[in-house]
């Protein structure tokens, strides 16, 4: 072979290649889930198994429980009880379901008591089939705006619920929310970059399901800058090592890799 492979030529990749974790590069996974999602079989989905997986690579995870998103009988209060058991590993996003305003009101009333383990909200518009600009989300978005909270939006290229046009309406209206665009409008990379350029202070692109897609990390870093990019895996959907391999194997600088894997998240979540 004529040149050194990525795991020999860059220090961080080499460290992750040779070791299960790298002390100077903890991993902050900003987009995870928790628990079985019985529409698929997961090898690891219990809290304990996920903790073992995360500790292996020295990762911390901000999650929103599958059941809280998919079946409203499972409450955000129950998610909080899980996080309380592992405060060194987990934070939660409060699941927002626009079809149940009573639950939303209740969770907003509880929100202060769930802090600091609860760090914001998760909106899954494609699945709940309510556009992100719909007024049913307003109570949550207004509160998040008042408190500069994090809101993780599932986003997807071409979606009429949470694609670029819909998100732009919300970002324009609520100027203080710290937006985390899950999956970075998968497939519509130019639109993702454009939204960050328009709102460079409070819009972040999140990478779940993107490391491993050839050229995507490079395109987003080039366009939006690594300071605006957060790491994520949808754990237990995707393996932490798969996604880290996609970052440290990307053709970007080691500084970019550190920004994505931990520095940006550490700024957003002081004390975690």
């Amino acid at each position: 072979m004529s040149e050194k492979p990525f795991f020999m030529s860059n220090k961080l990749a080499h460290a992750f290649w040779e070791n299960e974790f790298v002390p100077e590069c903890p991993v902050y996974d900003m987009h995870g889930h928790m628990g079985e999602n019985n529409a698929i079989t997961f090898p690891i989905a219990s809290t304990e198994d996920m903790v073992v997986h995360l500790r292996r690579i020295h990762a911390k995870l901000v999650f929103c429980h599958h059941w809280a998103l998919f079946t409203p009988e499972f409450t955000n209060g129950e998610c909080y009880e899980i996080v309380k058991r592992y405060p060194d590993v987990f934070r939660i996003y409060i699941a927002v379901n626009p079809h149940y305003s009573e639950i939303m009101r209740h969770d907003l009333a509880m929100y202060d008591s769930w802090k600091p383990l609860a760090v914001g909200f998760k909106i899954l518009a494609d699945y709940h089939q309510v556009k992100v600009s719909d007024p049913r989300y307003a109570p949550v978005l207004e509160r998040a705006d008042d408190e500069k909270a994090l809101v993780l939006f599932h986003t997807w290229g071409g979606s009429s619920f949470d694609g670029p046009d819909e998100l732009r309406k919300v970002v324009k209206k609520y100027r203080n929310i710290r937006y985390i665009l899950g999956h970075a409008f998968c497939g519509m990379w130019e639109d993702a970059v454009q939204l960050v350029r328009e709102y460079p202070d409070n819009v972040y692109l999140e990478l779940t399901s993107l490391p491993g897609r050839a050229g995507v990390i490079e395109t987003l870093v080039r366009g939006a800058g690594s300071e605006r990019i957060l790491f994520g895996t949808d754990l237990p959907w995707f393996d932490e090592y798969q996604a880290v391999g996609g970052i440290v194997g990307a053709k970007i600088s080691e500084d970019d890799m550190h920004n994505i894997l931990h520095r940006n998240a550490q700024q957003l979540l002081p004390g975690f």
Partner: protein
């Protein structure tokens, strides 16, 4: 350092017809990409074989192999039912030509190429390939669905099939019943990212039917390399997945 050699079973060369953020137009580009990733060898098919047809795809695979003077690449041709009389070797001649051209395995794209993989269409050819233990690759998309793949496996129980591009969003419910019931199905890992999934499959079924494949140029080489590197399996199983199983399968093909 060559602690873990990788042999990519699912690598594509050429300029994708709809463009792509990454691609390797020619052999030098591909070898550079393999060098960057630390991949020693790769089985190469053409990126536009599904859309553009088997004949031009195979033509460009042949060209790539001729330009690969270091012999790091092994070719994968696409075949069709031989009654179509297209310019693809058939019968016993197929294997002779494969050997001559450094083609180690075959692929089929029935959906894009407008034929159905029934015995009526390709029975005689597949029987010969089963006899000789030649590995046949197809993706979930190109066979049409998991249902279509199950039908294929049930119709041709003696053939060795490699299923690729299994979709990111979880395929355990599709792949496990196959691993339970046949030893002729092999799983390619480019889109099998489920957390601790590789170790879980190995624990249940062993490592012999799992192969590293990148899915390049749509997927990177590096992400699944790291996943395999840190999967909680024995080093012997890791070596099998990274390269050993593919080496063995190519060796067992009697061309």
């Amino acid at each position: 350092m060559e602690d873990l050699a990788f042999f990519d079973v699912n690598c594509q060369i050429g300029m994708p017809m709809c463009g792509s953020l990454e691609y390797a137009a020619g052999t030098d580009d591909l070898l550079r990409e393999l060098d960057f990733s630390g991949i020693g060898r790769a089985v190469v098919s053409h990126v536009n074989t599904a859309s553009g047809g088997a004949v031009p795809g195979n033509h460009f695979v042949n060209r790539a192999l001729r330009e690969d003077t270091g012999k790091r690449l092994v070719g994968c041709w696409c075949i069709l039912p031989d009654c179509l009389n297209e310019n693809i070797p058939s019968g016993e001649n197929l294997c002779r030509e494969m050997l001559k051209n450094r083609i180690g395995m075959l692929e089929i794209c029935p959906v894009s190429h407008r034929w159905v993989p029934h015995r009526t269409a390709i029975g005689r050819q597949f029987d010969m390939l089963a006899e000789r233990g030649v590995l046949i690759k197809t993706s979930v998309q190109e066979i049409g669905s998991w249902n279509a793949f199950y039908n294929l496996v049930e119709r041709f129980p003696r053939n060795r099939f490699l299923i690729t591009n299994t979709n990111l969003w979880g395929c355990d419910r599709y792949i496990r019943p196959l691993f339970e019931t046949t030893d002729k199905v092999y799983l390619e890992l480019s889109e099998y990212w489920v957390a601790e999934g590789i170790a879980n499959l190995v624990k249940r079924y062993g490592a012999d039917h799992i192969l590293y494949g990148s899915g390049y140029p749509y997927w990177t080489h590096t992400s699944q390399m790291m996943n395999i590197k840190h999967a909680q399996i024995s080093d012997e199983d890791r070596r099998k997945i990274a390269c050993g199983n593919l080496d063995q399968l190519l060796k067992e093909a009697q061309l």
